[in-house]
Amino acid sequence: MKTTAQPNIRQDLLYIQTSSTALTSKIHGMLLLEDGEIIEPELPFLYHTPLDAIRDGWRVIQFPNAALMLDESKTYGLGCEFILEKIRGLDA
């Protein structure tokens, strides 16, 4: 079967929820996909802010969704969510 998948790389994902849309805002929640394994990091988190993660080589692929912040009558989800990725090279 023909595939466009690239067998020699793998995507790592970092989900973080923060107190605001600022890259320097504190992280409330975190989940990591690392080398194919889902990891719930222990406190204290490795990164304090999204900026910390970016400086460590993570790349933002999704910014907080502003559509969730237009209704002051409800608190939607868990804060502002950033999703970041790293591309991991696999051994041949």
Binding site: Q17, S19, L31, I39, E42, L43
Partner: protein, 275 residues
Amino acid sequence: MTPTQIYNCQPTLTDSEVFDFCKTGYMMLENVVSDDINQRTTNYIEENGHRPLLNEGWFIEAVFQNPQAAGAVRSLLGANFALPIKLPNHRVNCPMSSQNWHRDGGSRYGPQVNHLQVFYYPQDTPPAMGPTEVLPGSHFFFSLQSWMGHYGTIRGAELTAAPAGSIFITAYSIWHRRSKSTATGWRNMLKYIYWRTTAPKRDWIAEPDFESGQPPNAKFSHPTHQQQHRNWFDAAEMYYWLCGETEAFDNKVGHDQWPPGYPVPNWTPENYHNF
């Protein structure tokens, strides 16, 4: 099918305790069921499964009608509340990974307290046995369960680790999950729901000075993930709903001390800023 049974008893919570529930969305009652009942329940489950417990008078009296737990339920749901008609057992063969965060189906977002989801541990349930993890204050966070699967470690989450015979009461919409267990062995956790049959009113143990808005009422001991002051507002709205005074709450636009949710002059309570 188990028919609906109504139960009444004296309320045991004070204004402060009711408001604490409004703030956090849960309440832990440690070691309120006797050891002989805990052991009898565990043995019964081993021999018969958990469902027939719904028809066992000794279990209904000791657990569903437990004086401390029922008194709290009475305070929050009013007189003549309905006893549980279903009794799931979240029985886990530890060790096991954590579950996804979720709100239970059937829960509804809002200040209303018409249902209480209650949990009972018949055995000691330390952190190693994977007790339920709750996120205090999250009963005010709107999210569909299917959109919560990617949440992981969250600041402020608390484990309901407790000794045998502990019962914890939750607002139905609170975010929760089974935590990761590292020990070996079976962990039973019986879960059941009470519901309201009468209109809400302030008929628990009233504290004479409570409505004067003493500053300690505004203290939140858990981190908040909400917009500034929103946690105060939501907790106050729920408290007023429980008092049967929603209209009075809607008409309040400011006060020098109460309700929280409006910036208060001249003093700043703890946790004034989001963490």
